[in-house]
């Protein structure tokens, strides 16, 4: 294992060498020798020298201390409470309406890869990303609210989890920056999210291997004189091919996993759309980093805040748990209607306990998922420790969301298996709940 770990960057370089030396393009233009020489030199000098790269983003001045989002919000009273704030309820109503009227009708087409370009403009009008940007840079955010973010994931996923993940990816980026970024980084990278057009951005945490472990990354960041050099492969990155900005997590020698802000134009980034079991509208992509040079200001959590990788992972787990609850609610509502309308043996199938009890269990387990998720989110918002709660929520959601998905198909029988109904689509999406990490930081 550890061997593989060390050899990987080296073997990647060698693999590239092989590819270059066999490239027709290189041979035809008699570039073979110089190209090989270049790669050789690159390898020899890898640790010491870095290229200076220019950021496209400009911050007139860094945020003042009191201009960032408020964190650790204590509740007004310490009473147990399940009511949403007035603002959360308003957002919920609006997003559920959007989920029903805009997302659900295009869900199937989106899964087939037919997306109207207009969708993201509509998303932008919802003001998701801007809700996380501090007011000082023309955003509308005042507090860091994991609860509100989690609720957005739930409500949008009620429409379609795939589209929800794509829609929320920029907000996940914004949240990660406001959570861990310096005031300078916030001032530099957040303004585009307040514009009139949808600004795609995302987080790249996962890597293509069985037994992926978010705490054990193979993507490497090596310090150079000008910043860092990144090598590795990321996967399941939402909106990958579109993203203008990306936070890539890589193992930084002696520091463990850290986040780096990448701008799309940095040389060495190759992005390829993935084909997966589901979630195709989320634009999940492979991101290959080959000697990507980033300035030292790209590193997250160096200045005012201490970066906690576990905290980032836990916040994202709450996000995916929110998505799971929303999609499971869609499944539940759908099968209730179906079971009441579908006649067999002269009466609705919902008159049978075998069917009705399955539906009751789906509702019980969905409520269980929701309770664990809400508790984790509310503890995160209040600044209480929430690692245990997020861990348990993910555990519950990973298992029960899929159960609800498979039971949903089961209740529809053969109709559940065909694409005429949405349950097979939800089934494919819910399989990802136990897999996705870092997808949406709440």
């Amino acid at each position: 294992m550890s061997n593989n770990y060390l050899i990987k960057p080296m073997s990647m370089a060698l693999e590239m060498l092989g590819r270059i030396s066999s490239s027709e393009h290189v041979n035809r233009w008699k570039l073979r020798e110089p190209a090989l020489k270049l790669v050789y030199q690159g390898m020899r000098q890898s640790v010491r020298v870095g290229k200076y790269v220019q950021s496209r983003y400009f911050a007139p001045k860094s945020l003042n201390h009191d201009e960032t989002l408020k964190k650790k919000i204590p509740p007004k009273t310490d009473r147990f409470d399940l009511t949403l704030t007035r603002e959360q309820q308003m957002v919920r109503d609006a997003l559920l309406k959007f989920a029903r009227q805009v997302m659900r009708p295009i869900s199937r087409d989106a899964d087939n890869g037919e997306m109207s370009s207009d969708f993201f403009n509509q998303v932008n009008e919802l003001g998701l990303a801007i809700s996380g940007v501090p007011e000082a840079i023309k955003g509308v955010g005042t507090i860091r609210s994991p609860v509100s973010n989690m609720l957005m994931a739930e409500d949008l996923s009620y429409g379609d989890m795939s589209l929800a993940i794509a829609s929320l990816a920029p907000l996940g980026f914004v949240n990660t920056i406001t959570e861990f970024g310096s005031r300078e980084q916030q001032a530099r990278y957040l303004p585009p999210f307040t514009e009139d057009t949808f600004f795609p951005a995302s987080i790249a945490l996962m890597e293509p291997e069985a037994r992926f472990n978010a705490n054990r990354l193979h993507t490497q960041a090596v310090p150079t004189n000008a910043g860092f050099r990144l090598n590795g492969i990321k996967c399941m990155v939402p909106l990958g091919t579109q993203s203008e900005l990306m936070i890539v997590f890589a193992d930084l020698a002696n520091h463990g996993p850290r986040g780096f802000i990448l701008e799309r134009q940095y040389p060495g980034i190759t992005i390829e759309n993935e084909k997966n079991m589901g979630l195709s509208a989320a634009g999940l992509s492979h991101v290959v980093l080959t000697d990507v040079e980033v300035p030292d200001t790209a590193l997250l959590g160096e200045q005012e805040v201490h970066y906690s990788h576990q905290r980032m992972i836990d916040l994202a787990r709450i996000g995916i748990c929110g998505c799971a609850s929303g999609t499971c609610q869609a499944v539940l509502d759908f099968v209730i209607k179906y079971a009441n309308e579908r006649i067999a043996f002269g009466e609705p199938i919902s008159n049978r306990q075998a069917v009705a009890f399955m539906i009751a269990d789906m509702a019980i387990e969905l409520e269980s998922m929701r309770m664990l998720t809400y508790r984790a989110a509310s503890r995160a918002e209040q600044g209480l420790p929430f690692h245990r709660e997020a861990y348990l929520a993910q555990l519950m959601c990973a298992q029960r969301a899929m159960q609800i998905g498979t039971d949903g198909v089961q209740i529809l029988g053969g109709h559940g298996f065909v694409c005429e109904y949405p349950v097979e689509l939800w089934y494919r999406q819910l399989r990802a709940v136990g897999i996705l990490e870092g997808t949406f930081v709440v």
Partner: protein, 401 residues
Amino acid sequence: MIHLEIPKKLRQVGDMAHAVAEGMFRPISRKYDQFEHAYPEELDMLRSILQGMADGGTGMGADGLSQKKKGKTKEIKNGNNMAVVLNMMEICWGDSGLALTIPGQGLGNAAIAAVATPEQKKRFDGKWAAMAITEPDAGSDSAAIKTTAILDGDEWLLNGEKIFVTCGERADLVVIWATLDQSLGRAAIKSFVVEKGTSGMKVTHLEKKLGIRASDTATIILDNCRIPRNNILGSESIDTKKSFAGVMQTFDNTRPVVAAMSVGVAKAALDLTCELLNREGLSFQYEGHRFEIPAIEAEIYRMEADLEAARLLMFKAAWMADNGKPNSKEASMAKAKAGRVGNEITLRCVELCSSLGYSENHLLEKWARDSKIFDIFEGTQQIQQLVIARRLLKKRSKDLK
């Protein structure tokens, strides 16, 4: 604002109950499991302590349960329903059999608190009331009960047989469910208060049970038992639309309490299991990928997640009752989830701890026996699923049987 922590004021109540559970219940837990039917005298002292607590507004018992009418203020309440489930959870962490036989805290007390007139409340104040519903041929199907009540002048004449009456022998009062006219079905079912010692009411048998042995479970025969006319709870008239629903509504308040019992016992089993595993060098830090940790550790987390879900569903149902929100579905969800995971967890803990789990040297085997009842009484798992399914699917009982 979403906040799923227990407020400080209630935590203090829970801490007190936990201390009682640890200091009074645990030491005698095994004793009354072994000497079934022996009266736990140690609990008489608890009666006065509890009375003090109840007077101080932190009721522990079922008599504190009721659906709060929506108040004028919009302020969120954490009231009696939450206090009761919290207390019950903590007490049952100590011993659930003993919790069921705390003097003055019977299920009948809940019924009296819910529907009695002020005059009746005064008359029955401070008395311990059991609840007699089940009959040999009517269990979950409580609408099929055959015990009859006939008005004879100024008295009711009761006849029939009741089984599985918790505290049937020990309580001062028994609330009997009987029908005024069996041909009218559920609407004709009323509850009647019979005082201990009334001639015609006899305890004929005490059950030997799988668990909760500290609590007596009696068979009661009513043979021309005469009680005063004003011992009926609720109205004498038969309203085919309302009555039964009214009777069943008591369950909306008591089901979260049974959920609390199940959660308490499961928590006890999980706590002890972690402690025993700790001694053998295992610790639980929620670290590591969920597929790369030892199977036994993964199993503990899985159980913990289920227990946490049951606990939160229980508090949600109680919170809804405290804030005047109809909670029939949520009360059943809490009971269904807590009943099944409580049983599953206690049984699994026995298995995980191997011979230690199975041995009477520890309480794990006892908890695994005790926990089974929580998935049965106050409506079995399947009855809860029926209640939930009917609500979700908007079905009447004649369509979804």
